[in-house]
Symmetry: C2
Subunit: 717 residues, 2 copies
């Protein structure tokens, strides 16, 4: 495996900055200050055409004048100068660059060709780069920060790859307030070279990084994304926010970083296949990522809840249930141990409700430790630990009565929790989350944040983050299989497709489509194509009644409701009538397909769609008349491993239909999974196929069978 | 309408506090300080058995010793003393009380009987009270605060009725930081007397209150809740968080305030019927409530988005789509006006992306005003306005270069936005929301908060709050009809039910159930009950083939899969065979129901369930074999108005099935709605009915018909 290009880019021994000056209002200057002031210890050179010094350091007129070739060039100059600068740096041997400048692909065709230009210059010189249209990187290990905002929080455990620079940098004060600390963060911009997948791979390999978060407007290489993610997610959690899945989101993303987006449905499937959790907001992305970066893995579903009031305890309990967790009633013996510590009227059952109690030690130490030792929980959420934040409020009321006592003196006279409370979470191998209405101005909140314990403002949001730990456990524990090696293309399929292509057709007819499917092992209905009425009657006899008769032409893609299909025919006269009816409805001589009737009350669909940037995608869902009503479907990229196919079956909201249900036997899951895999294989082996739609796949007894099928071909270029 | 009991309780001219002392660690003392220190200008008396003075004021040994009868008594003493104190206050003529003390119903049977005791004492003396087990009230109009935390934010527009005291009081510093200000807040506790519905009604009538939020663990009187809410919600938004709908949530709530909860499904239906929005977290409850309390109503779906960076703009656009809003592309002419204000590479299309720009005036004033004037949007979201919060960060980097310039001097030299930016939102009748990563320590955030403009930490959460404004618009604009007056009970139904009751039966048989339904106009299948095989054959002839034959006995509630039902019989021999088969399967002589076959591929269910505290609830959902697979159903309390029934039909996820679909005609909605209303009427007229389950209601052509029905009766007491 070649070395990830970010390894050197994030760890340069020397940097040249082009675009910084002595004007503190300029973005380039502000970014240069970040490099100079945040602790980076390598060499920093400035290039400036006019100034002799920049920020108190000597400035060089051009790259060629530098005393040595820097490992990294940071470029914050007008877009038209970038290509020339890259060539200059290339000439002296610099191999990495960060291009901050915007105004490329995201602005339309002129920008697009300028972006192509810089790509080719960089490629010629072997330069790998981040950007353009980005804010660069933060590496907390070597204190390198190329962004506009100071990075002052010190090293952390959370890696961030982002298609938004703002989320890397404008949020830094917010992150500090919430105790969230990056290991590394990368603003990717337009991804003309180094992309999200490179960054994901880099953060996956990075030892400092314990969890990875991704802000995504569009993925350019879906196949590599899933491959890389699947290597990471069994051992390191990855969480993503994706905002390109709606019309406005897609349009906004395109004008932001020129991202090519796809529907939510595509990304949901890809994330599942990759083992990536999806969250809806940037706040969740940070908070759940930080929880996963700091907390031990969850090993069960049992959550203990300790609070100083009933509302938050009830809210946490409710949300835990919704997240697939449990808040079990404690054993009688544990409750017996808890009861002496709490008011007689308070509950010891879980949630434990201490009720109003200004002595915080029970809430912060005694009760949690007792519960964690009990073996009755796998995680703990605490709400209500507070001190200085509440005391400063109370002090206002007491001031008149305290005869000149200062707030500081008053505070000293009150009890806070000691350092051991903040260290407690690390003592036991369980996730331990705090909920508090007090932010980091409260000494307790600050103590937890400094100790790397996540503090949530909303009790329910602590429970939701625990839900992410739970889902990560399921991802960690899932057994993945590899897709089988791609088989050879089947001669029968090649022949049918070749003929259709030669004839310039846009699709196969149903009979041909089923033959292609059958060539790859998909069970299809017994059927015979017939051109004359006599042939149709003969075919029906052969197949045995009852039969269906359908118009069979590649030009007729949708048959229902148009007189082109007759079902459940039981005798010759009906077949003749159907044949004549179809000829009439079609308006010209049209062959028919005489088909065995398949009965069953469970109908699914299996399909294949191609999305730009992704491998062919296989779709599985509820089929027949229910397709558009319930829109209950799921997707994966091909090739599908056994585990991928099995997960698809389990994904449907209506997956209970696959089991024994109302007198119907359990569906042969292996057979159904085989159809999904075959469709993926066909799409990979036959790139001329644009789409496949098998709907319905009927369940006859317990066996799936393709009752109708459509294969569309790509238009000739 | 009698005066709401909270009117006097929230506005007493004098208060007596029992349970305050000179020990500042005691809850009673802390609460007394809130009354004394937060600006309440009425008389405050203390009662203390031993102390001569409390908090510097004379203390009286007993209620009888007070100089006058206070309007309100606030009691924070052990639970065993409450009844006696209420009697004392009753004797001197006090009519309102707040009982803070816990240890009643929520603790079990001893507490429950103590709670009954205080109810009866209060009732004897005409005392109306809040509590026990609560923190009392905050009234920002007269500055009365009985809670443990200081209330310092001044008057606001948000009314809060809460079954958690913590959410009223512990959150106060959090609310202040987020600029959220109560009009009135009420901690209800166990609701032994004044309950959530009283508080809702009070806040609905209160002119200071512009929006109401409810924290709910359980509703005690569902019928009154909906009645009261429906009077309020067409003119004043009401938002609720409900946490009793899961197993752990229900258990936690019961031990918190003794609340009787019900499933989410019940509360979702009740909230819809009441016109109440439901939100999942306490943070959303505050934030969405505050947005609704401060913002003008939304009058369309079009959202303008202005940011200084692409990520937040994209996130907002995506979330707007998901909330049913639009982020329309601006007209060419508006874009032409915008373009000169922004960088060449930035987007003017909406979202407008100013990109990095330290001059905030364009972002805060020029662009928003241009867009609001254009007539192209109905609401605006701005992200990225910041000043001192960012400058304090930047200053750290500049310090070395500024030769001793102080932060204050530096800040003065930078441009912030002026007061007119914060007043801008009020100038146009559109909702106007801010998103910023900077909290109230930033002068811009503080400016907006002080001006009553909501500021969200997460761009997506601003869009979500706008979604609540959108849903409020739909609620405001819905046309509600009144339920028709309850009809007379039908003699046929009375007779059938009377007979079944006399026989001590637990249910009606299918034939009787259908007769009861038919008596109220529900279309049912043609059918005849037959005891002998010959009768069955005769009945089939009368009804006309094909027929169904089913075992018909009140003891057989579930027939399918047990040989007790035979469908689609086409001739005499089949009926005979079916009759014999059923006798065998039943194991004893059992009458059968011979029934016309109903064909149709759309099946629904209509049912009725009773929940403690609620009027009978009517359920409508997807029926037949799909019932448990999709769990697609909705609920309302009876009686159902025409609009209630119509909303139920529209509620289903699969409501498209009611329209013209795949060759099937549109369902006669009026007929289906009539079945829902009839079921509600039956439940109201016949309280001996425990449950009704009509499944399936088949759609034959476009007509619904009850094909199977079950009516269960209440067990004799």
């Amino acid at each position: 495996m070649p070395e990830n290009p970010l390894r050197l880019l994030m760890n340069p021994r020397s940097i040249a900055v082009v675009g910084a000056s002595n004007d503190f209002r300029k973005m380039g200057t502000i970014q240069a200050l970040s490099i100079l002031q945040d602790g980076y210890s390598g060499d920093v050179f400035f290039i400036h055409r006019k100034e002799k010094t920049v920020l108190g350091r000597p400035a060089f007129p051009a790259a060629a004048d530098l005393p040595k070739a820097p490992d990294l060039a940071v470029l914050i100059v007008p877009s038209s100068s970038i290509a020339g600068l890259l060539a200059d740096f290339g000439a002296i041997g610099t191999k990495r660059a960060i291009i901050i400048t915007a105004g490329f692909k995201e602005t339309g065709s002129a920008g697009r060709s300028m972006e192509e230009k810089i790509k080719s210059v960089a490629s010629r010189h072997g330069i790998r780069f981040v950007g353009p249209n980005c804010l660069g990187i933060i590496n907390s290990e070597n204190s390198l920060n190329t962004t506009v905002a100071p990075f002052t929080t010190g090293p952390g455990r959370l890696g961030f790859a982002s298609q938004s620079g703002t989320y890397v940098t404008q949020a830094l004060p917010y992150l500090r307030k919430n105790g969230i600390r990056y290991s590394k963060a990368i603003s990717l911009g337009n991804e003309a070279d180094i992309d999200l997948v490179d960054a994901l791979e880099y953060l996956g390999e990075d030892e400092q990084t314990r969890a990875v978060i991704l802000y995504i407007e569009g993925i350019r290489d879906g196949r590599r994304f899933v491959e890389v993610a699947r290597r990471i997610t069994p051992r390191k959690p990855v969480v993503a926010q994706y905002v390109g899945g709606s019309a406005s989101g897609a349009r906004a993303g395109a004008s932001h970083t020129g991202a090519m987006s796809g529907p939510d449905f595509l990304y949901d499937g890809i994330f599942k296949q990759a083992g990536i959790l999806r969250v809806p907001t940037i706040e969740d992305l940070y908070a759940h990522g930080w929880t996963l970066a700091t907390q031990p893995p969850l090993r069960g579903r049992r959550v203990g809840v300790v609070t100083n009031s009933g509302g938050p305890g009830t809210g946490i309990a409710y949300m835990c249930d919704h997240e697939g967790l449990e808040v079990p009633r404690f054993s009688e013996s544990l409750q017996r141990d808890i009861r002496p510590l709490i008011e007689a009227h308070a509950s010891a059952a879980n949630p434990v409700d201490l009720t109003f109690d200004l002595g915080m030690r029970k809430l912060a130490v005694t009760l949690p430790e007792m519960i964690m030792k009990s073996g009755e929980v796998d995680a703990l959420i605490l709400h209500g630990i507070m001190h200085s934040g509440f005391m400063v409020e109370i002090f206002e009321h007491l001031r008149d009565y305290l005869q000149g006592v200062s707030y500081e003196a008053f505070l000293k006279g009150t009890r806070s929790v000691k350092e051991d409370a903040f260290q407690l979470p690390g003592k036991y191998p369980f996730p331990f989350l705090i909920s508090s209405f007090f932010d980091d101005t409260d000494d307790c909140t600050r103590g937890y944040l400094d100790a790397g314990v996540p503090v949530f403002r909303s009790p329910e949001n602590a429970a939701r983050a625990l839900g992410s730990l739970h889902r990560c456990r399921l991802i960690r524990e899932r057994v993945l299989s590899n897709a089988p090696p791609l088989s050879q293309a089947q001669p029968a399929a090649l022949e049918i497709l070749g003929r259709a292509k030669a004839e310039g057709r846009g699709a196969l007819d149903e009979c041909e489509a089923k033959q292609v499917l059958a060539a790859y092992g998909v069970p299809v209905t017994r059927e015979v194509k017939a051109v004359t009425c006599d042939d149709a009657v003969e075919a029906a006899k052969q197949i045995r009644y009852p039969v269906a008769v359908k118009a069979c032409s590649w030009e007729i893609l949708h048959k229902s409701g148009r007189g082109l299909i007759a079902l459940n025919l039981k005798k010759e006269a009906q077949v003749q009538e159907a044949f004549d009816g179809i000829q009439k409805a079609a308006g010209k001589p049209t062959p028919v397909l005489v088909q065995e009737m398949v009965f069953g009350s469970r109908e699914f669909l299996v399909g294949m769609t191609r999305f730009p940037g992704f491998a062919p995608c296989v779709v599985f869902g509820l089929g027949g008349v229910w397709t558009e009503i319930h829109r209950d479907m799921t997707l994966r990229q091909s090739p599908l491993s056994d585990s991928d196919a099995a997960e698809m079956l389990a994904d449907l909201r209506s997956s209970r239909l696959l089991g024994e249900y109302r007198g119907m036997p359990e569906v042969k899951r292996g057979a159904l999974a085989g159809i999904l895999q075959a469709v993926g294989t066909i799409a990979l082996l036959h790139p001329e196929i644009a789409e496949i739609d098998i709907n319905p796949v009927m369940i006859r007894g317990d066996e799936p069978v393709a009752a109708d099928a459509l294969i569309g071909l790509k238009a000739e270029d």
